[in-house]
């Protein structure tokens, strides 16, 4: 079973939920798909080993064979190729690796080579298999790295995926083929605004979803009204509590310290299981 933890907006407590849930259950695999800011291991403090360098294919042009016809340049939708009078230049960081230029080149002057976009690390032990992907700083190709990371999913386990914030392509790539999505939000206007976008995604992808209200406090009931109107259950509330914020700041998963929380996460998990079945 694959459960994604997502949120329209960053900083709502997505990673906190993913980590605490993983630590409350047995036989878990946790994949940190937030490859621009993979923070889950700051809370797990596991020693990790690099398992793979991830690259995408980019073209390499043989200047001897290239006659500068410009067909590849015309084909590339991402402006990754530019024709100079006597040469075609490749801008590797813009290339999405579609392979089209190689197909269209009439001179067979194009071959492909790997460009590194990041790497994957893992650790295991204590009933928790952990993987994360780390994207090279400034790189635009988060989705291919996430796709590669998801290949490590072990279907015999319960898999928790910590999704990147937002509702762009990397979040969608993470959510593809999951059985359930937990959306973490805060009871504020910003939280609600971004929750609505995230709900639009799970609806379009037909993924059953439940909502966790983090930093729950009185004063703003619109989030609840929205959940009701959309018929999405609120599966957990985490209170606004300075102790939780302080533990978070030190990298301590609060379910390890505050009594009763592991049970709450387990109950939530049972509820999710019932919904899926």
């Amino acid at each position: 079973m694959k459960i994604a933890v997502a949120s329209g907006k960053g900083g709502t407590g997505k990673t906190t939920v993913a980590v605490n849930l993983a630590l409350s259950l047995q036989d878990i695999q946790l994949l940190d798909c937030d490859v621009e800011e993979p923070n889950a291991n700051l809370f797990l403090q596991k020693s990790v080993d690099r398992v793979e360098d991830v690259s995408i294919l980019v073209p390499q042009i043989d200047d001897d064979l290239c006659n500068c016809c410009g067909d590849c340049v015309a084909f590339c939708q991402y402006n990754a190729l530019a024709a100079l009078p006597n040469k075609v230049m490749v801008f590797e960081s813009l290339c999405h690796g579609c392979g089209g230029c190689k197909l269209v080149c009439p001179e067979k002057a194009i071959t492909e080579t790997g460009r590194n976009i990041g790497y994957i690390e893992k650790s295991s032990g204590n009933g928790l298999d952990f993987y994360h992907g780390i994207l090279c700083i400034g790189d635009a190709m988060a989705s291919p790295l996430i796709q590669r990371l998801k290949c490590y999913a072990d279907e015999n386990k319960t898999i928790i995926l910590d999704a990147p914030p937002g509702t762009a392509c990397p979040m969608i790539t993470t959510l593809k083929d999951v059985d359930y999505c937990i959306l973490v939000t805060e009871p504020t206007p910003f939280g609600l605004h971004d929750l609505k976008l995230a709900v639009e995604v799970v609806e379009k992808m037909s993924i059953p979803a439940g909502i966790i209200i983090n930093q729950d406090a009185e004063g703003y009931s619109e989030v609840e009204e929205f959940c009701k109107s959309k018929n999405i259950p609120i599966i957990l509330r985490i209170p606004y509590d300075r102790r939780i914020a302080e533990m978070y700041s030190k990298g301590i998963p609060f379910a390890e310290e505050l009594p009763g929380w592991k049970e709450k996460f387990r109950e939530m998990y049972e509820q999710i299981k019932r919904i899926i079945e």
Binding site: G10, G11, I137, D139, F190, E246
Partner: protein, 288 residues
């Protein structure tokens, strides 16, 4: 005209709280909300849209099932796994490369233009000008839309002789942040003294150093972990980034947000005077 980008590495550190307050404190600024994936500034500034520009992203493939013979060539060549077993294109997945159309022997595939979002020129309830945008869900062109928002902001600033563009940046350290930072005069990084805050601050400082952009740091909720706040100070120093503000853990930003106001309009106390002091320091660095 100067450009100041407010970024954060990690999301949810209070970036928009700071930017919106600066917008009120600055006399003559244009605001650009470049967090196009989750734009929130409009919730505080309540803009009235003056003009709207459609933003087209990459096109999306579409298969005509009358012509499709299900030969499977498109599926085989699509590197983005965007064609499903029923020979329909999963539009979320499609990157618009056009390879399927090129290989299809039956001419069954066309590339359709795709409106990926909208950019707006607006005037806010405070009379401030705001450039902002909305990116459709699942779109992958945030860098390009950010460039459009920034162009609009620059044009508005020129037309109105504004001396500053205040940019609210996206979270992360990917291409969206780079599109936000290119060519700015100064970056203010809003962080928090948490283990993830400090980790992401380090990545953000690497980005600003890499592009030679002078950076300042604001520590939000500094009192939640003062030891870590000191670590942030040391890290910022080693990157030549001055700490311009330390804001305490406080409910005011949330309360202000609920009534749709910026904090400096909502209250007047030590929290807001901290923000005002920070603004004077930033102004000094920008030589405004």
């Amino acid at each position: 005209m100067k450009q100041l980008a407010i970024i954060s590495g990690k999301g949810g550190t209070g970036k928009t709280t700071v930017t919106s307050s600066f917008a009120v404190l600055a006399n003559n600024a244009v605001v650009a909300d470049c967090d196009v994936d989750a734009a929130n500034m409009h919730l505080l500034l309540n803009p009235q849209i003056l003009s709207k520009h459609d933003f087209y992203g990459l096109s999306v493939a579409s298969i005509d099932n009358q012509l499709c013979t299900e030969c499977g060539l498109c599926k085989k060549h699509c590197r983005f796994d965007a064609i499903n077993d029923n020979f329909c294109v999963e539009s979320f997945q499609c990157e618009g490369c056009g390879v399927c159309k090129y290989v299809c022997p039956s001419d069954a595939i066309s590339m359709e233009t795709n409106k990926a979002g909208e950019a707006y020129e607006s005037i806010t309830r405070l009379g401030l000008l705001l450039a902002h945008a909305k990116l459709g869900i699942g779109e992958d062109a945030s860098g390009k839309l950010i460039a459009v928002v920034r162009e609009i902001a620059i044009r508005m600033a020129e037309e109105n002789k504004a001396d500053l563009i205040l940019i609210d940046g996206p979270p992360g350290t990917g291409c969206a942040v780079i599109a936000t930072l290119t060519g700015v005069d100064l970056a203010l990084i809003v962080t928090e003294p948490t283990i993830s805050g400090i980790h992401d601050l380090e990545r953000a400082l690497e980005v600003t150093s890499h592009f030679n952009i002078p950076a300042l740091v604001c520590i939000n909720k500094y009192d939640i972990n003062e030891e870590m706040a000191r670590e942030i100070e040391a890290m910022s120093n080693s990157h030549n980034a001055m700490i311009v503000g330390k804001l305490p853990f406080n409910k005011i930003p949330t309360e202000a947000m609920i009534v749709g106001k910026t904090v400096v309009e909502y209250a007047s106390n030590t929290f807001t005077s901290n923000i005002e002091e920070m603004w004077s320091k930033v102004k000094e660095v920008l030589k405004l």
